[in-house]
Symmetry: C2
Subunit: 247 residues, 2 copies
Amino acid sequence: MSEVKSGTLFGVGLGPGDPELMTLKAVRVLSSAPVVAHFRKAGRTGHARTIANAHIRTDVVEAAFEYPVTTEIDFREDGYVSAIRDFYEESAAAIVAHLEGGRDVALLCEGDPFFYGSFLHMYDRIKAAHQVMVIPGITGMSGCWTAAQAPITYGDDVMTVLPGTLDEEALTKHLGVADAAVIMKVGHNIEKIKRALSAAGRFDDAIYVERGTMPGERVAKLSDLGECAVPYFSIVLLPGGRGRRIA
Amino acid sequence: MSEVKSGTLFGVGLGPGDPELMTLKAVRVLSSAPVVAHFRKAGRTGHARTIANAHIRTDVVEAAFEYPVTTEIDFREDGYVSAIRDFYEESAAAIVAHLEGGRDVALLCEGDPFFYGSFLHMYDRIKAAHQVMVIPGITGMSGCWTAAQAPITYGDDVMTVLPGTLDEEALTKHLGVADAAVIMKVGHNIEKIKRALSAAGRFDDAIYVERGTMPGERVAKLSDLGECAVPYFSIVLLPGGRGRRIA
Protein backbone atom coordinates (compact mmCIF):
# COMPACT_ATOMS: atom_id res chain seq x y z
CA MET A 1 0.00 0.00 0.00
CA SER A 2 1.51 3.28 -1.09
CA GLU A 3 1.11 6.39 1.02
CA VAL A 4 0.41 9.70 -0.68
CA LYS A 5 2.17 12.76 0.68
CA SER A 6 -0.51 15.27 1.70
CA GLY A 7 -0.72 18.44 -0.37
CA THR A 8 -0.30 21.99 0.93
CA LEU A 9 -3.05 24.58 1.08
CA PHE A 10 -1.80 27.97 -0.12
CA GLY A 11 -3.84 31.00 0.90
CA VAL A 12 -2.90 33.28 -1.97
CA GLY A 13 -3.41 36.99 -1.32
CA LEU A 14 -4.22 38.68 -4.65
CA GLY A 15 -4.28 42.30 -3.51
CA PRO A 16 -6.96 44.94 -3.98
CA GLY A 17 -8.06 44.25 -7.56
CA ASP A 18 -5.53 45.49 -10.11
CA PRO A 19 -3.89 42.26 -11.38
CA GLU A 20 -0.57 44.07 -11.58
CA LEU A 21 -0.71 44.46 -7.78
CA MET A 22 -0.29 40.72 -7.37
CA THR A 23 3.05 39.70 -5.87
CA LEU A 24 5.77 37.71 -7.57
CA LYS A 25 5.18 35.00 -4.99
CA ALA A 26 1.44 34.77 -5.69
CA VAL A 27 2.18 34.43 -9.40
CA ARG A 28 4.77 31.71 -8.77
CA VAL A 29 2.44 29.66 -6.60
CA LEU A 30 -0.43 29.99 -9.09
CA SER A 31 1.82 28.88 -11.91
CA SER A 32 2.51 25.55 -10.21
CA ALA A 33 -0.59 24.65 -8.17
CA PRO A 34 -2.57 21.79 -9.76
CA VAL A 35 -5.80 22.92 -8.06
CA VAL A 36 -7.14 26.47 -7.80
CA ALA A 37 -10.10 27.16 -5.50
CA HIS A 38 -12.07 30.33 -4.91
CA PHE A 39 -15.23 31.70 -3.36
CA ARG A 40 -17.79 33.59 -5.38
CA LYS A 41 -21.34 34.82 -5.46
CA ALA A 42 -23.62 32.32 -7.23
CA GLY A 43 -23.57 32.80 -10.98
CA ARG A 44 -20.66 35.27 -11.02
CA THR A 45 -17.06 34.80 -12.16
CA GLY A 46 -15.92 36.15 -8.81
CA HIS A 47 -13.51 39.00 -8.11
CA ALA A 48 -10.68 36.77 -6.98
CA ARG A 49 -10.87 34.58 -10.09
CA THR A 50 -10.92 37.70 -12.29
CA ILE A 51 -7.84 39.20 -10.64
CA ALA A 52 -5.84 35.99 -10.99
CA ASN A 53 -7.06 35.12 -14.47
CA ALA A 54 -3.86 35.68 -16.46
CA HIS A 55 -1.93 33.33 -14.18
CA ILE A 56 -4.30 30.36 -14.00
CA ARG A 57 -2.94 27.40 -15.94
CA THR A 58 -5.16 25.99 -18.63
CA ASP A 59 -4.75 22.44 -17.27
CA VAL A 60 -5.63 23.37 -13.70
CA VAL A 61 -8.47 21.78 -11.73
CA GLU A 62 -10.78 24.53 -10.57
CA ALA A 63 -13.07 24.46 -7.54
CA ALA A 64 -15.54 27.35 -7.22
CA PHE A 65 -17.40 27.58 -3.91
CA GLU A 66 -20.61 29.58 -4.29
CA TYR A 67 -21.94 31.40 -1.24
CA PRO A 68 -25.46 30.17 -0.41
CA VAL A 69 -26.21 33.60 1.13
CA THR A 70 -24.30 36.87 1.05
CA THR A 71 -25.50 40.10 2.56
CA GLU A 72 -29.25 39.61 2.09
CA ILE A 73 -29.63 37.95 5.48
CA ASP A 74 -28.39 39.59 8.65
CA PHE A 75 -25.50 37.54 9.98
CA ARG A 76 -27.03 37.54 13.44
CA GLU A 77 -29.98 35.47 12.19
CA ASP A 78 -29.92 31.73 12.75
CA GLY A 79 -30.69 31.01 9.09
CA TYR A 80 -27.52 32.77 7.98
CA VAL A 81 -25.27 31.11 10.52
CA SER A 82 -26.58 27.66 9.77
CA ALA A 83 -26.42 28.01 5.97
CA ILE A 84 -22.95 29.51 5.96
CA ARG A 85 -21.57 27.01 8.46
CA ASP A 86 -22.67 24.11 6.27
CA PHE A 87 -21.19 25.87 3.25
CA TYR A 88 -17.81 26.34 4.92
CA GLU A 89 -17.80 22.72 6.11
CA GLU A 90 -18.44 21.46 2.58
CA SER A 91 -15.87 23.80 1.04
CA ALA A 92 -13.22 22.71 3.55
CA ALA A 93 -14.05 19.05 2.88
CA ALA A 94 -13.59 19.59 -0.86
CA ILE A 95 -10.18 21.19 -0.26
CA VAL A 96 -9.14 18.43 2.13
CA ALA A 97 -10.06 15.77 -0.46
CA HIS A 98 -7.51 17.33 -2.83
CA LEU A 99 -4.85 17.64 -0.11
CA GLU A 100 -5.33 14.00 0.89
CA GLY A 101 -4.96 13.06 -2.75
CA GLY A 102 -1.53 14.70 -2.65
CA ARG A 103 -2.53 17.78 -4.62
CA ASP A 104 -1.57 21.30 -3.55
CA VAL A 105 -4.48 23.73 -3.54
CA ALA A 106 -4.15 27.47 -4.18
CA LEU A 107 -7.10 29.22 -2.57
CA LEU A 108 -7.54 32.65 -4.14
CA CYS A 109 -8.07 35.46 -1.62
CA GLU A 110 -8.92 39.06 -2.44
CA GLY A 111 -6.75 41.43 -0.41
CA ASP A 112 -4.75 39.80 2.39
CA PRO A 113 -5.74 36.28 3.55
CA PHE A 114 -5.31 37.04 7.28
CA PHE A 115 -7.23 40.34 7.20
CA TYR A 116 -10.96 39.46 7.34
CA GLY A 117 -12.44 37.23 4.62
CA SER A 118 -13.56 33.68 3.99
CA PHE A 119 -10.10 32.15 3.89
CA LEU A 120 -10.00 32.23 7.69
CA HIS A 121 -12.87 29.78 7.87
CA MET A 122 -10.86 27.33 5.78
CA TYR A 123 -7.64 28.04 7.68
CA ASP A 124 -9.23 27.29 11.04
CA ARG A 125 -10.68 24.02 9.77
CA ILE A 126 -7.66 22.71 7.88
CA LYS A 127 -4.48 23.87 9.63
CA ALA A 128 -4.48 21.21 12.34
CA ALA A 129 -4.21 18.30 9.90
CA HIS A 130 -2.54 19.79 6.83
CA GLN A 131 0.23 22.17 5.92
CA VAL A 132 -1.06 25.67 5.17
CA MET A 133 1.09 28.44 3.70
CA VAL A 134 -0.16 32.00 3.50
CA ILE A 135 1.01 34.55 0.97
CA PRO A 136 0.13 38.05 2.13
CA GLY A 137 -1.46 40.51 -0.26
CA ILE A 138 -2.10 44.23 -0.43
CA THR A 139 -5.32 44.90 1.47
CA GLY A 140 -8.37 46.38 -0.19
CA MET A 141 -8.04 49.42 2.07
CA SER A 142 -4.48 50.12 0.85
CA GLY A 143 -5.81 49.97 -2.70
CA CYS A 144 -8.55 52.43 -1.77
CA TRP A 145 -6.34 55.04 -0.08
CA THR A 146 -3.94 54.80 -3.00
CA ALA A 147 -6.82 55.28 -5.46
CA ALA A 148 -7.97 58.30 -3.44
CA GLN A 149 -4.42 59.73 -3.35
CA ALA A 150 -4.99 60.03 0.38
CA PRO A 151 -2.07 59.24 2.68
CA ILE A 152 -3.80 57.51 5.57
CA THR A 153 -1.30 57.80 8.45
CA TYR A 154 1.50 60.17 9.38
CA GLY A 155 3.99 60.06 12.25
CA ASP A 156 2.20 58.97 15.40
CA ASP A 157 -1.33 58.68 14.07
CA VAL A 158 -3.63 56.06 15.54
CA MET A 159 -5.59 54.27 12.81
CA THR A 160 -8.75 52.28 13.44
CA VAL A 161 -10.40 49.84 11.05
CA LEU A 162 -14.14 49.61 11.61
CA PRO A 163 -16.72 47.30 10.06
CA GLY A 164 -19.66 49.43 8.94
CA THR A 165 -21.90 46.76 10.45
CA LEU A 166 -21.19 48.09 13.97
CA ASP A 167 -24.00 50.04 15.60
CA GLU A 168 -24.05 53.82 15.40
CA GLU A 169 -22.96 54.37 18.99
CA ALA A 170 -19.93 52.09 18.65
CA LEU A 171 -18.92 53.69 15.34
CA THR A 172 -19.19 57.18 16.84
CA LYS A 173 -17.17 56.22 19.90
CA HIS A 174 -14.33 54.71 17.85
CA LEU A 175 -14.29 57.55 15.32
CA GLY A 176 -14.06 60.03 18.18
CA VAL A 177 -10.68 58.72 19.34
CA ALA A 178 -8.99 57.79 16.03
CA ASP A 179 -6.68 60.06 14.05
CA ALA A 180 -7.27 58.01 10.92
CA ALA A 181 -9.99 55.48 10.20
CA VAL A 182 -11.10 53.02 7.56
CA ILE A 183 -14.73 51.92 7.50
CA MET A 184 -15.24 48.65 5.63
CA LYS A 185 -18.44 46.87 4.55
CA VAL A 186 -20.28 50.10 3.79
CA GLY A 187 -23.26 48.98 1.63
CA HIS A 188 -26.59 49.63 3.28
CA ASN A 189 -24.80 50.94 6.37
CA ILE A 190 -23.93 54.18 4.59
CA GLU A 191 -26.47 56.51 6.22
CA LYS A 192 -25.59 55.20 9.68
CA ILE A 193 -21.91 55.74 8.90
CA LYS A 194 -22.59 59.32 7.81
CA ARG A 195 -24.43 60.02 11.07
CA ALA A 196 -21.58 58.53 13.12
CA LEU A 197 -18.98 60.61 11.26
CA SER A 198 -21.06 63.75 11.84
CA ALA A 199 -21.46 62.97 15.53
CA ALA A 200 -17.69 62.51 15.78
CA GLY A 201 -17.10 65.83 13.98
CA ARG A 202 -15.34 64.17 11.04
CA PHE A 203 -17.94 64.00 8.28
CA ASP A 204 -16.32 66.66 6.08
CA ASP A 205 -12.96 64.82 6.05
CA ALA A 206 -14.37 61.49 4.87
CA ILE A 207 -13.69 60.02 1.43
CA TYR A 208 -15.81 57.38 -0.27
CA VAL A 209 -14.05 54.79 -2.47
CA GLU A 210 -15.67 52.11 -4.60
CA ARG A 211 -13.75 49.48 -6.64
CA GLY A 212 -10.34 50.95 -5.69
CA THR A 213 -7.62 50.06 -8.31
CA MET A 214 -10.22 48.29 -10.51
CA PRO A 215 -12.17 49.25 -13.63
CA GLY A 216 -15.10 51.42 -12.54
CA GLU A 217 -13.09 52.88 -9.66
CA ARG A 218 -14.93 55.76 -8.01
CA VAL A 219 -13.59 58.25 -5.48
CA ALA A 220 -15.69 61.05 -3.98
CA LYS A 221 -15.89 63.22 -0.91
CA LEU A 222 -18.50 61.47 1.22
CA SER A 223 -20.28 64.80 1.61
CA ASP A 224 -20.70 64.99 -2.19
CA LEU A 225 -22.14 61.50 -2.50
CA GLY A 226 -25.77 62.24 -1.73
CA GLU A 227 -28.24 59.51 -0.83
CA CYS A 228 -27.70 56.48 -3.01
CA ALA A 229 -27.23 52.74 -2.84
CA VAL A 230 -23.56 51.72 -2.63
CA PRO A 231 -21.90 48.30 -2.82
CA TYR A 232 -21.13 46.27 0.30
CA PHE A 233 -17.41 46.24 -0.40
CA SER A 234 -17.02 49.99 -0.78
CA ILE A 235 -14.90 51.79 1.82
CA VAL A 236 -14.96 55.11 3.67
CA LEU A 237 -11.59 56.64 4.54
CA LEU A 238 -10.78 59.21 7.18
CA PRO A 239 -7.19 60.28 6.50
CA GLY A 240 -4.88 61.12 9.39
CA GLY A 241 -2.10 63.66 9.52
CA ARG A 242 -3.91 66.28 11.58
CA GLY A 243 -1.28 66.21 14.32
CA ARG A 244 2.46 66.51 14.06
CA ARG A 245 3.78 66.97 10.56
CA ILE A 246 7.25 68.13 9.72
CA ALA A 247 6.12 70.71 7.19
CA MET B 1 14.53 77.17 -26.38
CA SER B 2 13.36 73.60 -25.92
CA GLU B 3 11.11 72.69 -23.03
CA VAL B 4 11.75 69.47 -21.14
CA LYS B 5 8.70 67.46 -20.10
CA SER B 6 8.80 67.08 -16.31
CA GLY B 7 9.40 63.57 -14.98
CA THR B 8 7.08 61.62 -12.71
CA LEU B 9 7.82 60.68 -9.12
CA PHE B 10 6.85 57.07 -8.41
CA GLY B 11 6.37 56.11 -4.78
CA VAL B 12 7.15 52.41 -5.08
CA GLY B 13 5.80 50.24 -2.27
CA LEU B 14 8.15 47.27 -1.83
CA GLY B 15 6.21 45.30 0.76
CA PRO B 16 7.34 43.94 4.13
CA GLY B 17 10.82 42.66 3.27
CA ASP B 18 10.72 39.42 1.29
CA PRO B 19 11.67 40.50 -2.26
CA GLU B 20 9.18 37.99 -3.65
CA LEU B 21 6.42 40.01 -2.01
CA MET B 22 7.05 42.89 -4.40
CA THR B 23 4.24 43.46 -6.89
CA LEU B 24 4.45 43.03 -10.64
CA LYS B 25 3.81 46.76 -10.93
CA ALA B 26 6.68 47.71 -8.63
CA VAL B 27 9.02 45.49 -10.64
CA ARG B 28 7.84 47.03 -13.91
CA VAL B 29 8.37 50.59 -12.71
CA LEU B 30 11.83 49.77 -11.31
CA SER B 31 12.83 48.16 -14.58
CA SER B 32 12.26 51.42 -16.47
CA ALA B 33 12.96 54.30 -14.08
CA PRO B 34 16.25 56.08 -14.90
CA VAL B 35 16.65 57.31 -11.30
CA VAL B 36 16.14 55.29 -8.13
CA ALA B 37 16.07 57.10 -4.78
CA HIS B 38 15.85 55.75 -1.26
CA PHE B 39 16.21 56.70 2.39
CA ARG B 40 18.65 54.93 4.67
CA LYS B 41 20.51 55.12 7.94
CA ALA B 42 23.97 56.61 7.46
CA GLY B 43 26.49 54.00 6.40
CA ARG B 44 23.93 51.23 5.78
CA THR B 45 22.71 49.73 2.50
CA GLY B 46 19.17 50.38 3.64
CA HIS B 47 16.26 47.93 3.87
CA ALA B 48 14.42 49.35 0.88
CA ARG B 49 17.48 49.15 -1.36
CA THR B 50 18.10 45.56 -0.24
CA ILE B 51 14.53 44.45 -0.98
CA ALA B 52 14.60 45.96 -4.48
CA ASN B 53 18.13 44.91 -5.34
CA ALA B 54 17.44 42.29 -8.00
CA HIS B 55 15.35 44.76 -10.00
CA ILE B 56 17.62 47.82 -10.00
CA ARG B 57 19.14 48.39 -13.44
CA THR B 58 22.90 48.52 -13.62
CA ASP B 59 22.80 51.81 -15.55
CA VAL B 60 20.47 53.55 -13.11
CA VAL B 61 21.30 56.80 -11.35
CA GLU B 62 21.00 56.22 -7.62
CA ALA B 63 20.23 58.82 -4.96
CA ALA B 64 20.59 57.68 -1.35
CA PHE B 65 19.28 60.08 1.29
CA GLU B 66 20.88 59.41 4.68
CA TYR B 67 18.90 60.34 7.78
CA PRO B 68 20.84 62.86 9.88
CA VAL B 69 19.11 61.52 13.01
CA THR B 70 16.92 58.50 13.59
CA THR B 71 15.56 57.41 16.92
CA GLU B 72 18.35 58.69 19.16
CA ILE B 73 16.67 62.07 19.61
CA ASP B 74 13.09 62.36 20.79
CA PHE B 75 11.03 63.72 17.92
CA ARG B 76 9.47 66.31 20.21
CA GLU B 77 12.83 68.01 20.69
CA ASP B 78 13.62 71.06 18.59
CA GLY B 79 16.94 69.64 17.44
CA TYR B 80 15.23 66.66 15.86
CA VAL B 81 12.55 68.67 14.12
CA SER B 82 15.01 71.17 12.72
CA ALA B 83 17.54 68.60 11.50
CA ILE B 84 14.94 66.36 9.90
CA ARG B 85 13.09 69.26 8.28
CA ASP B 86 16.27 70.43 6.57
CA PHE B 87 16.98 66.87 5.50
CA TYR B 88 13.55 66.41 3.93
CA GLU B 89 13.84 69.78 2.16
CA GLU B 90 17.18 68.80 0.64
CA SER B 91 15.96 65.34 -0.35
CA ALA B 92 12.88 66.79 -2.03
CA ALA B 93 15.05 69.33 -3.86
CA ALA B 94 17.29 66.55 -5.17
CA ILE B 95 14.25 64.65 -6.46
CA VAL B 96 12.78 67.77 -8.04
CA ALA B 97 16.05 68.46 -9.87
CA HIS B 98 15.71 65.08 -11.60
CA LEU B 99 12.02 65.63 -12.38
CA GLU B 100 12.74 69.06 -13.87
CA GLY B 101 15.44 67.44 -15.98
CA GLY B 102 12.75 65.21 -17.43
CA ARG B 103 13.80 62.08 -15.55
CA ASP B 104 11.30 59.84 -13.76
CA VAL B 105 12.31 58.99 -10.20
CA ALA B 106 11.37 55.75 -8.43
CA LEU B 107 11.47 56.39 -4.69
CA LEU B 108 11.76 53.06 -2.87
CA CYS B 109 9.37 52.68 0.07
CA GLU B 110 9.32 49.82 2.57
CA GLY B 111 5.76 48.61 3.11
CA ASP B 112 3.04 50.83 1.67
CA PRO B 113 3.93 54.42 0.69
CA PHE B 114 0.75 55.96 2.12
CA PHE B 115 0.92 54.10 5.46
CA TYR B 116 3.39 56.03 7.67
CA GLY B 117 6.96 56.52 6.45
CA SER B 118 9.25 59.11 4.93
CA PHE B 119 7.69 59.04 1.47
CA LEU B 120 4.86 61.23 2.76
CA HIS B 121 7.29 64.07 3.44
CA MET B 122 8.34 63.96 -0.20
CA TYR B 123 4.78 63.56 -1.44
CA ASP B 124 3.55 66.62 0.43
CA ARG B 125 6.42 68.74 -0.91
CA ILE B 126 6.35 67.59 -4.54
CA LYS B 127 2.76 66.76 -5.53
CA ALA B 128 1.64 70.34 -6.19
CA ALA B 129 4.17 70.95 -8.97
CA HIS B 130 4.89 67.47 -10.36
CA GLN B 131 3.09 64.28 -11.25
CA VAL B 132 3.30 61.69 -8.48
CA MET B 133 2.15 58.09 -8.89
CA VAL B 134 1.92 55.76 -5.91
CA ILE B 135 2.21 51.98 -6.12
CA PRO B 136 0.80 50.40 -2.99
CA GLY B 137 2.71 47.66 -1.20
CA ILE B 138 2.03 45.03 1.42
CA THR B 139 2.42 46.70 4.81
CA GLY B 140 5.02 45.59 7.32
CA MET B 141 2.22 44.63 9.69
CA SER B 142 0.69 42.24 7.11
CA GLY B 143 4.11 40.65 6.75
CA CYS B 144 4.32 40.27 10.52
CA TRP B 145 0.92 38.66 11.07
CA THR B 146 1.63 36.31 8.17
CA ALA B 147 5.01 35.41 9.69
CA ALA B 148 3.30 34.78 13.02
CA GLN B 149 0.60 32.64 11.34
CA ALA B 150 -1.83 34.83 13.24
CA PRO B 151 -5.05 35.86 11.46
CA ILE B 152 -5.51 39.43 12.68
CA THR B 153 -9.22 40.13 12.06
CA TYR B 154 -12.37 38.04 11.77
CA GLY B 155 -15.92 39.05 10.90
CA ASP B 156 -16.76 42.30 12.64
CA ASP B 157 -13.54 42.85 14.56
CA VAL B 158 -12.34 46.39 15.16
CA MET B 159 -8.60 46.70 14.55
CA THR B 160 -6.48 49.55 15.87
CA VAL B 161 -2.95 50.45 14.77
CA LEU B 162 -1.00 52.15 17.53
CA PRO B 163 2.45 53.73 17.46
CA GLY B 164 4.38 52.45 20.47
CA THR B 165 5.52 56.03 21.01
CA LEU B 166 2.11 56.93 22.52
CA ASP B 167 2.03 57.38 26.28
CA GLU B 168 0.99 54.49 28.49
CA GLU B 169 -2.44 55.88 29.29
CA ALA B 170 -3.33 56.39 25.63
CA LEU B 171 -2.07 52.91 24.71
CA THR B 172 -4.10 51.33 27.52
CA LYS B 173 -7.25 53.22 26.54
CA HIS B 174 -7.03 52.20 22.88
CA LEU B 175 -6.14 48.58 23.67
CA GLY B 176 -9.14 48.40 25.99
CA VAL B 177 -11.63 48.98 23.16
CA ALA B 178 -9.98 47.13 20.24
CA ASP B 179 -10.70 43.55 19.23
CA ALA B 180 -7.41 43.36 17.35
CA ALA B 181 -4.41 45.68 17.56
CA VAL B 182 -1.03 46.24 15.96
CA ILE B 183 1.59 48.18 17.90
CA MET B 184 4.29 49.62 15.66
CA LYS B 185 7.60 51.30 16.52
CA VAL B 186 8.24 49.07 19.52
CA GLY B 187 11.99 49.56 20.25
CA HIS B 188 12.65 51.13 23.63
CA ASN B 189 8.90 51.46 24.18
CA ILE B 190 8.62 47.72 24.86
CA GLU B 191 8.25 47.78 28.66
CA LYS B 192 5.64 50.56 28.47
CA ILE B 193 3.75 48.50 25.84
CA LYS B 194 3.81 45.43 28.11
CA ARG B 195 2.36 47.47 30.97
CA ALA B 196 -0.39 48.89 28.76
CA LEU B 197 -1.30 45.41 27.47
CA SER B 198 -1.46 44.11 31.04
CA ALA B 199 -3.63 47.04 32.15
CA ALA B 200 -5.99 46.31 29.25
CA GLY B 201 -6.11 42.60 30.18
CA ARG B 202 -4.54 41.49 26.91
CA PHE B 203 -0.89 40.79 27.72
CA ASP B 204 -1.17 37.00 27.37
CA ASP B 205 -2.59 37.27 23.84
CA ALA B 206 0.19 39.46 22.45
CA ILE B 207 2.72 38.25 19.89
CA TYR B 208 6.10 39.86 19.25
CA VAL B 209 7.46 39.88 15.65
CA GLU B 210 10.84 41.09 14.48
CA ARG B 211 11.96 41.20 10.82
CA GLY B 212 8.71 39.60 9.56
CA THR B 213 9.23 37.82 6.16
CA MET B 214 12.98 38.62 6.22
CA PRO B 215 16.12 36.67 7.12
CA GLY B 216 16.43 36.66 10.90
CA GLU B 217 12.65 36.67 11.32
CA ARG B 218 11.67 36.12 14.94
CA VAL B 219 8.23 35.39 16.36
CA ALA B 220 7.54 34.90 20.06
CA LYS B 221 4.75 35.21 22.57
CA LEU B 222 5.37 38.60 24.15
CA SER B 223 5.12 36.97 27.57
CA ASP B 224 8.05 34.68 26.65
CA LEU B 225 10.28 37.53 25.51
CA GLY B 226 11.71 38.63 28.85
CA GLU B 227 13.46 41.95 29.29
CA CYS B 228 15.67 42.69 26.33
CA ALA B 229 16.47 45.37 23.80
CA VAL B 230 14.38 45.09 20.63
CA PRO B 231 14.59 46.95 17.32
CA TYR B 232 12.52 50.06 16.64
CA PHE B 233 10.75 48.47 13.68
CA SER B 234 9.58 45.37 15.51
CA ILE B 235 5.83 44.93 15.97
CA VAL B 236 3.48 43.61 18.64
CA LEU B 237 0.28 41.93 17.44
CA LEU B 238 -2.94 41.37 19.31
CA PRO B 239 -5.00 39.02 17.11
CA GLY B 240 -8.77 39.40 16.96
CA GLY B 241 -11.39 36.71 16.52
CA ARG B 242 -12.60 36.60 20.10
CA GLY B 243 -16.17 37.43 19.13
CA ARG B 244 -18.35 35.87 16.50
CA ARG B 245 -16.77 33.03 14.62
CA ILE B 246 -18.65 30.57 12.49
CA ALA B 247 -16.98 27.50 13.96
